[in-house]
């Protein structure tokens, strides 16, 4: 410290010379040094390492090292035939792959499903990348034109395409159809419900609240049961309604209630000044909402919406309970196949299904995180 003899000895007059910054260990080095700081930390580190080793090594052995890659039937996946401990029986997945993807959709017509998947991906990818232009047109194509195309392609019965009844649909096809319809059909309903709940009109807001709280208060399984067994009673006797359509109606109502709450959060985040500005410009209610409030609110809640979509994607598995065979249902019914009954069949099936569900959900959650970061830096109100 610089001394100042002219004044009181303990007050420094000059500037304090900056001390050199202590050498900072790299982040990795710092993290590593914390692993063994003190006996408790060392014990925790060792315990975690043991847990990791106990999880990763057997998983790796099961999935890759001990796995059987080629074979034609259960015999090829038995310990007695192979002569060593057997891991995953991948030929089982290969043999059943088409069924896991399409259910019992007629083999000759499966190109239609693939065409729908292809076009869907082609429209979805640019929609997800913020830098690609023509968002409005793209969204219109994905949310309005694509469903019509997919309906004609998948159901058929016109344009020379043979009719395929939904009873034979299954596997990944059902999973994706329910997820997509659940998202696309429930979004507009959810926007209306959220606006209704925030409305000044007492009857409208009471009804919106009652609707939202009802669907959020009951489990999805009961909603699916309601849709499958009760819905036909509510319709005129001469109407027959397809089993898949019933499930789609139930899922749509259910997910609309959840999405409405997410969107309401976005509506609440819009500052009053925006509404007052719109009013000063002479905009009416629908123009204020459609041109000023909703574009901002919906952009705000994209991460929340994507998280709801993940929940919906995972919840599609519940259709199993109303005897519909989605990906998980197909895999479960394949366990009963005597051709592939081995001690490892069940685990192999779960590994395959788990990998698909995890990959899709994880990718969606990373996307939500990415959008969240982007929006946080984009918008500073």
């Amino acid at each position: 410290m610089a001394s100042a003899p002219a004044r009181s000895s303990h007050i420094s007059a000059g500037a304090i010379a900056p001390r050199p910054r202590p050498p900072e260990p790299g982040r990795l080095a710092a993290a590593l040094s914390r692993l063994f700081a003190g006996p408790l930390n060392t014990a925790l580190t060792l315990a975690s390492a043991m847990v990791l080793a106990a999880l990763i090594w057997p998983t790796l052995r099961f999935l890759v090292l001990d796995a059987v890659w080629d074979g034609a039937s259960r015999v090829d996946c038995l310990e007695e035939t192979v002569g060593r401990p057997v891991g995953a029986c991948w030929p089982f997945i290969a043999a059943r792959f088409d069924q896991f993807m399409y259910g019992f959709y007629p083999e000759l017509q499966r190109w239609r499903v693939n065409a729908v998947y292809g076009l869907g991906l082609l429209l979805l990818a640019p929609l997800l990348i913020p830098a690609v232009p023509f968002k409005r047109l793209n969204a219109l194509a994905f949310f309005v034109a694509f469903p019509a195309f997919a309906y004609v392609m998948l159901v058929g019965g016109r344009l020379g395409l043979p009719y395929v009844e939904t009873r034979v649909w299954g596997g990944m096809l059902i999973t994706l159809v329910i997820t997509y319809v659940g998202i696309v059909a429930s979004l507009p309903l959810a926007v209306l419900l959220a606006l209704g709940r925030r409305s000044d009109l007492p009857i409208i807001s009471a009804m919106a609240i009652a609707f939202i709280e009802f669907w959020r208060g009951v489990p999805l399984v009961t909603v699916l049961f309601f849709a499958t067994y009760m819905l036909p009673f509510f319709l005129p006797a001469d109407w027959s309604i397809d089993a898949l359509a019933r499930v789609l109606i139930g899922v749509t109502l259910f997910s609309a209630a959840y999405l409405a709450e997410v969107i309401r959060g976005g509506l609440q985040a819009i500052p009053r000044g925006q509404l007052e500005g719109a009013a000063a410009l002479g905009l009416g209610y629908w123009k204020t909402m459609g041109l000023v409030v909703l574009p901002q609110a919906l952009k705000h809640v994209i991460p929340g919406l994507v998280n709801s979509f993940i929940a919906l994607f995972k919840d599609t598995t519940l259709v199993l309970i109303v005897s519909m065979f989605d990906l998980l249902g197909q895999i479960r019914s394949a366990f009963a196949d005597p051709n592939w009954a081995t001690p490892v069949t069940v685990l192999t099936g779960f590994a395959f299904a788990g990998a698909i569900y995890f990959a899709v959900s994880f990718a969606m959650s990373r996307y939500a995180l990415f959008m969240e970061r982007r929006l946080n830096t984009d918008i500073r109100l």
Binding site: F226, Y229, E276, A278, A279, L328, F335, F350
Partner: protein, 430 residues
């Protein structure tokens, strides 16, 4: 609507009432209400004509009729001759059992994982993050079926049961220390294992078998002593708080609580003998006699529900702790509070205020998710009622309405309590 409400500030315009926003608002609402009521009326007409043409009985009379099917787990006496009303009660109790036990385990795992995610120890934090990511990104039904089919379904027969508990660990330790036979340590460990063996659990393809606890005569006296200790502690706490407010002197309440809640029961147990005796299950022939058997469906459901919900609770806990600003901790330390008091008086109360509402939401989710029991055949309210009872009676409307009403009541009651709680802590803030 805001634009409309602002337009009405001026004096009402002359001319037609069509342009008066208040009248318009009433008109739109009446039209909407009439449309909804008309729709409901049409649906009601459809229902009554459909039920008539299909000759399905209506009303709740079926609740008094005998059910005629068996249920594989009942908490209250039940037989096939009992009524559907009794079936309802059995199912409801089974649902509540899974929910309560699931909530306890989910909370324990969730708090541990949530705190571990914030650990400065890199490996521990990573492991906790991995757990949360893996569990949250897999469907719950997938996990329930995984535990039921892939884990519990591959367990051995009762004769080759897996023994869980301290005794088998000690035996294995004794075995691995075989080289030290001369010192007598392995023999001592084996002897200890024999003493602890009655407390072991057995896992096999028929479920999880626990020793049956029975209260000994001394146990009742011990319970009375413990109750007295708790009462004494409450009185002591009041006195200590009053004294601290009056004089500023603190009282070592933590140590007193330890003495009263742990020391006193322990002393009573030593003097009067163990308050609870364990009746170990016995392997006879091909099965266990005695003990409490938890069916595999129950075990799988509890494991899946609690590990799944725990991943969400972990995120809630982490967010709650992170939401307490660092300045709070620093200010507490500047005031001279030690680390424990800082946590107990400053951090935890504020974090809990943020954690409790979403935590309740997770409990509610767990309860609603317990309906997935239907997929593996655990007899919860949904699967006995919407499964067996619906198939036999065909009264879909009444049965689904009852089930929905039960879950709706649970949900709405919980959210009512939550908004009361929120209002209370909001007031405390100002």
């Amino acid at each position: 609507m805001t634009s409309e409400s602002q337009r009405q500030v001026g004096p009402p315009r002359h001319g037609s009432a069509i342009h008066d926003p208040r009248i318009r608002a009433i008109f739109y609402q009446v039209v909407f209400l009439v449309a909804v009521l008309w729709g409901c009326y049409q649906l009601g007409l459809n229902v009554s004509s459909n039920l008539e043409t299909q000759r399905i009985a209506t009303g709740f009379g079926f609740l008094g009729q005998p059910a005629g099917f068996a249920i594989n787990q009942t908490l209250i006496p039940y037989s096939e001759t009992n009524t559907y009303g009794r079936v309802f009660l059995v199912g409801l109790l089974n649902t509540l059992l899974v929910a309560v036990i699931g909530v306890v385990f989910a909370t324990l795992i969730g708090f541990v994982v949530g705190i571990a995610r914030l650990s400065p120890n890199w490996l521990v934090a990573r492991l906790a993050t991995g757990y949360v990511e893996l569990i949250r990104n897999l469907p719950l039904l997938f996990q329930i079926m995984f535990w039921y089919l892939a884990v519990l379904g591959t367990l051995p027969q009762p004769r080759q049961s897996l023994e869980l508990g301290v005794a088998p660990l000690l035996r294995r330790l004794a075995e691995s220390l075989g080289a030290l036979d001369a010192t007598g340590i392995p023999a001592a460990l084996n002897a200890l294992a024999e003493r602890l063996a009655p407390a072991s659990l057995y896992l096999n393809n028929r479920g999880l078998i626990l020793p049956e606890p029975a209260v000994t005569p001394g146990g009742l006296v011990t319970a009375a002593i413990v109750a007295a200790a708790v009462a004494a502690l409450l009185v002591l706490r009041r006195w200590a708080r009053r004294r601290q407010e009056a004089t500023g002197e603190t009282f070592p309440l933590g140590r007193a609580a330890l003495l009263l809640l742990v020391g006193v029961p322990l002393a009573a147990a030593v003097l009067l003998g163990s308050p609870v005796s364990l009746q170990p299950p016995e392997l006879r022939g091909f099965n266990f006699i005695g003990g409490v058997r938890l069916i595999p469906e129950f075990v799988a459901l509890v494991i899946a529900l609690s590990t799944y919900t725990a991943a969400f609770i972990a995120e809630v806990v982490r967010a709650g702790i992170l939401a307490v600003p660092r300045g709070q901790t620093e200010a507490a330390m500047a005031l001279g509070l030690d680390r424990r008091r800082t946590l107990r008086l400053i951090v935890v109360p504020q974090a809990l205020r943020i954690i409790v509402p979403p935590l309740t939401n997770q409990y509610l989710n767990l309860t609603k998710n317990s309906t997935l029991a239907a997929a593996i055949g655990y007899p919860d309210l949904f699967s006995v009622f919407a499964g067996s009872a619906l198939n036999i009676t065909g009264q879909a409307i009444e049965i689904i309405a009852i089930i929905m009403a039960v879950y709706l009541t649970i949900s709405l009651a919980t959210s009512a309590v939550m908004s009361w709680y929120n209002a209370r802590i909001q007031l405390a803030e100002r």
